[in-house]
Assembly symmetry: C2
């Protein structure tokens, strides 16, 4: 009966798709939803969108964590200012602070390296290899299942990376149901070309973060370079601009409410297909705990850097990231409660299970689904402890480096294919780059304070949750922890870059014999980290084995309702489409979908983050908006809002019009939508973009770069 | 030439009025602007609006500081919850907290006294008596001019008050240009009939104060009583309901954006016709100083009441008022800057003076205008000191009482007609009532802290600004001030109501002989207060004499542009008309003009001031809105917004539709409009009202009072 309804819906020409406006589609799914894409207003060929070697998709690239796109035949790349923040910071000096002043390379020779870790990754292939990945795993359980999938994935990656200059990965779709081999060209010589001052790129700062109305010029330009043979290569002065297979044309047309819009990018993670129990855990436990932890870390860092301007600068990036994460967690919590996400998901799951019970041969599926629920329930026992221990590494520089070095020494003892992901030969350059950057982000007093704070939280956990190795290193009370931290950081040589790089190159025996107290502490702690990792892998293995039953039931159930299912986001290339949209965030308030330079003036206080630079204010007052003026509003637009489906990782994503031309850059979501990683609520989900016309105006009239406009074939007035 | 333009404008049928939407018209002016009133949508007879003895104007009453209106033939009066706050608080006990629980008198017998100071004032006559008031003043200057006006006013009032049960006053229009004798019936037995809980009446509290979107049920009902002969009388159990000459009918029609709206009330003070120099002083000096002073008073009271729940309650009303005033001052400052009020007024004044210079016989006028400017410039010399000294009285209870008692003793030595306003025989009942209320608003530790704080600010002024009497009482350093305050408050008997009332009844000689240290301090300080008052009167007299030249020039200049001029507000009955209006407060944001119960749910946190009571939340969830449902929105509205011209004192003003029916109660302005007391900026000026339908729904379905609905001839469902 249910199947018949689905067929009738298709027969009647109804869209075969997800719920309205929702969807982070794999490009390969787009031909499947071609009809609804055309109905929404797309004028291109949906089949072309599925081809990663053709425009527009071949112009969309990953920066690793952010999205960007080629906008010229000479390798010019546009992304967000906040995605290029590290590169801008890296090239700033006391004499020339590029964050404050902005940066314009007037010539190619003036383009500066974005740093050794900067990458532009161009996805060139995306192939389903589910059978190859699962072949050896079938019949196994738990850790063994995980290892089999991991081994098969590594083998596939290793084989793929035989080709020079490419980086491969295996993407897990629908929670272990399908696997895809992704091949990416790995461009390594990335240079900074143009950035507005931070007071434009980050106008509104933390106060406006996640907020609408918004007035940020959150964009910057990179250029990708290759060696003279056109091959990916590390920075070298005689490298030449990369010539991409395709680039996006920047639109010169206006943008208005209701216009079709489409976005491509690398959304990081969503959890929309998680179980109802996981939704309940997220809202009831996880998010409140996260808000608490981030808040206390920020307090600790603020206290430790108070009155120390140098430390303040060193931790600016980490603090910004923590604040962002804290705000995000709180918004996610508020949003999930407002949308009654737990209730909605519970009713949806119950309906799915009721439907399933009426299907033939549902017993096996139901047994696996029940098993999934049981594994999830067990997984919460030592979670808070494990998260604190993980935070001790993720929020430090020297302790993290020491543990990375010790871990790498162990992994190096294995054949490369059996090494842990992130510690293979292919990863060593990235590890080196990260060891080099420590210097710019570390102050011993702050790191000690962070660890002291985390250890204090750890000591408040029940005795059953103690980690013997942590107690061995840091003792069991505050006085011992303080004394140990003082001794470790007074005695360690890891604060020096040369020493970190020496240890990176050293033989395992040398590390073992090291008398560096922090290296010794890391050696003591590592077994605990590995033990927890092992337990997680056992659990992950079971979930990897069992979740596909849940996902297949969900996909079938949706199919029975005439709906396609996109996989949850996993940092692979996805496409979303929708329209330029206003928002009614709450009773009595209506947000218009376009903001104008008038808002910059209204918000300007002269104090960071509302310190619009004088050239910008003067240009606004002058009112010469040239070819970028909005014909309806009669002024210069700044940002616009769509109902596109995005999440973290979509930063920098090109926003395209019905003809595939670039009309904006995604850079944020609204506050009401930060819960969208778990639940897409069409009433509240909006994405926030820099209007390409604002970018054009700034580059034409305010901080001129006519050579770049010409390179993009854009008017210079 | 200018005159000719005015005639042409009139001939062409153009509205003879102020700038669009602006205007607090005297009822007597409405026939003059009848055309534009009709064009705006009013369906009644503008001439009827000028008659204070006919509906609707005769239904609009003053509560002294607030406005209200009769809504039944049995003396039922509706006003704001915040206007009835004192009466609700007065009737609250530990056992039955009416603020928390609300109040419904199910029978007339259950209606409780609003207190001895409560009044309902019905304006019955409003006559121009300019010649009578100025006759004796002409030819005089300064203090003598002031005294002559004052004497003539008092004589007029005394003559008028020969009639029993009436209260008369002389209103100064256009800054001394015209004078009106106002006669008001003074109803003294006022009883509380109905009030929702404060969590409805003040939903949103200080956080939402001045804000939109708004969700307050800010209304309450009184009933006015008279003696058996129908005459005003103090509270007596056998008094009977007053039968007003007219009452407003409550509308049962919907309200929508663009609908005509009209409001009548007693707006307190506006300053729109002040000089450009006064505008500059307000923005540059006065408002910043006020923000600073109120902020420090609030800090002082917060510190002094910390951990003392009882003191907290005693000062709740004063703190609420200070917070309101602080927020208002800051909003006024922001708004005047945003509207460039100083620049606008400067250009307007310059244009007026340029026009004036071309008029025949303009020299005398110009000389008086220059003299006005000179007096204003002089008036700023000791202002900060004088304001601090005035604040010592206005923000205290016991010191204020002591100085009131001493002052009254002096005034009682004069013939009644020569006594200072506020200290005449007719005022003594009000003084007694205020002396009685001290008990509910006083804690010695807090009052000492407030005075210590103000004295500290006083001591920071330049030595040239010292007041010898203040120094004599409180010394010249912090230690002396503290010791004196301790001694004064330890030694005074004024903390006891009986003692205050005994001194009120005592002979002057008895006061003089008093050994009460606070009475002695007040006796020492009083000459300083009188001296400052004298200097002010000298200045006021000159301004009273000279400002009419400025006003007549302004009125003539406006006439030359075809515009009428309403007088600045002065707590007399005024009418404003306009429409239900949305607002675009800033770039990207649009406020809709009606809010709904959905917003109450969205804002509800369970914690004050967002603690919507359970019966309300349940009723919203139930969705049974009966006859009060909005037909377009399909739900229950709560508040609405118009562009009506209001200011403080308009609280409780009836908002009427095109037929004069009551559609809401004014209770606030939006944050962007609090600068409207100086400048009406039509882009931002809005007034915020309780929708009469919300009131009807609450009384029908949530806190039912069907007998009152029936009394107002309204559906009970």
């Amino acid at each position: 009966m249910a199947l018949r309804i689905a067929l009738l819906a298709s027969a009647a020409g109804l869209a075969f798709g997800a719920k309205a406006d929702e969807g982070m589609w794999m490009p390969s799914q787009l031909p499947q939803i071609a009809e609804q894409l055309a109905a929404a207003g797309y004028r291109g060929d949906p089949a072309a969108l599925a081809d990663l070697t053709r425009p527009p998709m071949s112009a969309v690239v990953s920066l690793g964590g952010c999205t960007a796109s080629f906008v010229s035949p000479e390798g010019l790349v546009v992304t967000n200012h906040h995605c290029a923040y590290g590169a801008i910071q890296l090239n700033s000096t006391a004499k020339d602070n590029l964050l404050a002043n902005g940066f314009i390379a007037d010539t190619r020779a003036q383009e500066v390296s974005a740093g050794p870790a900067a990458r532009v990754l161009v996805t060139t292939a995306f192939d389903r290899i589910t059978d190859r990945i699962l072949g050896d795993a079938r019949g196994k359980t738990g850790r063994a299942y995980y290892e089999a999938v991991d081994a098969a994935s590594k083998a596939a990656v290793a084989e793929c990376e035989q080709e020079a200059g490419v980086r491969c990965s295996v993407a897990n779709m629908y929670y272990g149901t399908d696997f895809y081999l992704i091949k990416q060209l790995e461009l390594k010589d990335i240079r900074l070309v143009y950035a507005p001052p931070e007071s434009i790129g980050g106008y509104g700062g933390e106060i406006d973060n996640f907020m609408w109305p918004r007035h940020s010029g959150d964009f910057a330009f990179y250029r990708a370079y290759v060696d003279k043979d056109g091959k990916p290569a590390a920075f070298a002065t005689d490298n030449v601009p990369y010539q991409p297979k395709a680039f996006l044309e920047v639109s010169t047309d206006p943008v208005a409410e209701g216009d079709f819009a489409m976005l491509a990018g690398y959304p990081g993670r969503t959890f929309r297909h998680r179980t109802a129990a996981e939704f309940a855990d997220q809202v009831g436990t996880q998010l409140p705990a996260r808000v608490d932890l981030f808040g206390s870390l920020l307090e600790t860092i603020a206290r430790a850097t108070a009155g120390n301007a140098e430390a303040d600068v060193l931790y600016a990036s980490q603090v910004a990231s923590l604040k962002n994460n804290l705000k995000r967690a709180q918004g996610e919590l508020d949003g999930l409660r407002r949308s009654d996400a737990v209730g909605v998901r519970q009713r949806d799951e119950a309906a799915m299970l009721a439907w399933l019970s009426k299907q033939p041969d549902a017993a096996d599926t139901r047994r696996d689904i029940d098993a999934v629920q049981a594994v999830i329930a067990q997984s919460h026992a030592t979670r808070e402890r494990d998260q604190l221990f993980a935070t001790m590494r993720s929020q430090t520089q020297l302790l993290k480096s020491a543990m990375q070095l010790q871990r790498l020494a162990i992994e190096r003892g294995k054949p490369d294919a059996q090494r842990e992901s992130g510690y293979q030969q292919r990863d060593e350059a990235l590890i080196e780059a990260s060891l080099k950057q420590v210097q710019r982000r570390y102050d011993p007093a702050v790191e000690k304070a962070v660890l002291a704070g985390l250890l204090a939280r750890y000591r408040q956990l029940p005795a059953t949750q103690r980690i013997a190795e942590l107690d061995a290193v840091f003792g069991t009370d505050a006085a011992q922890a303080t004394a140990t931290l003082d001794a470790l950081y007074a005695g360690t040589g890891l604060g020096a870059e040369a020493e970190r790089l020496r240890l990176l190159a050293a033989a395992p025996a040398e590390l073992e014999a090291s008398t560096d107290p922090l290296m010794q502490a890391a050696a003591t702690l590592l077994p605990a980290a590995l033990r927890i990792e092992d337990a997680d892998k056992e659990q992950d293995g079971e979930l990897l084995r069992l979740r596909p039953a849940y996902m297949r039931a969900l996909i079938s159930y949706r199919e029975s309702q005439g709906q396609a299912v996109y996989p949850d986001a996993n940092s692979t290339l996805r496409v979303s489409y929708g329209k330029v949209s206003s928002l009614a965030p709450r009773d009595g308030v209506h947000y218009t979908p376009l903001t104008t330079v008038q808002g910059i003036v209204e918000k300007h206080t002269g104090e960071e983050p509302f310190d619009a630079p004088k050239p910008l204010r003067d240009a606004i007052a002058k009112g010469d908006f040239g070819s970028s003026i909005d014909p309806v509003l009669g002024t210069q637009t700044v940002n616009f809002m769509t109902n596109l489906d995005t999440t973290g990782g979509n930063s920098g994503s090109p926003v395209m019009d019905a003809n595939g031309k670039l009309i904006g850059l995604n850079f944020d979501s609204n506050w009401e939508a930060v819960s969208a990683s778990w639940m897409f609520d069409p009433r509240y989900k909006r994405a926030i973009h820099v209007d390409a016309r604002y970018l054009r105006w700034l580059m034409a009239k305010v901080y001129p770069a006519p050579h770049l406009l010409k390179e993009m074939n854009l008017p210079v007035e």
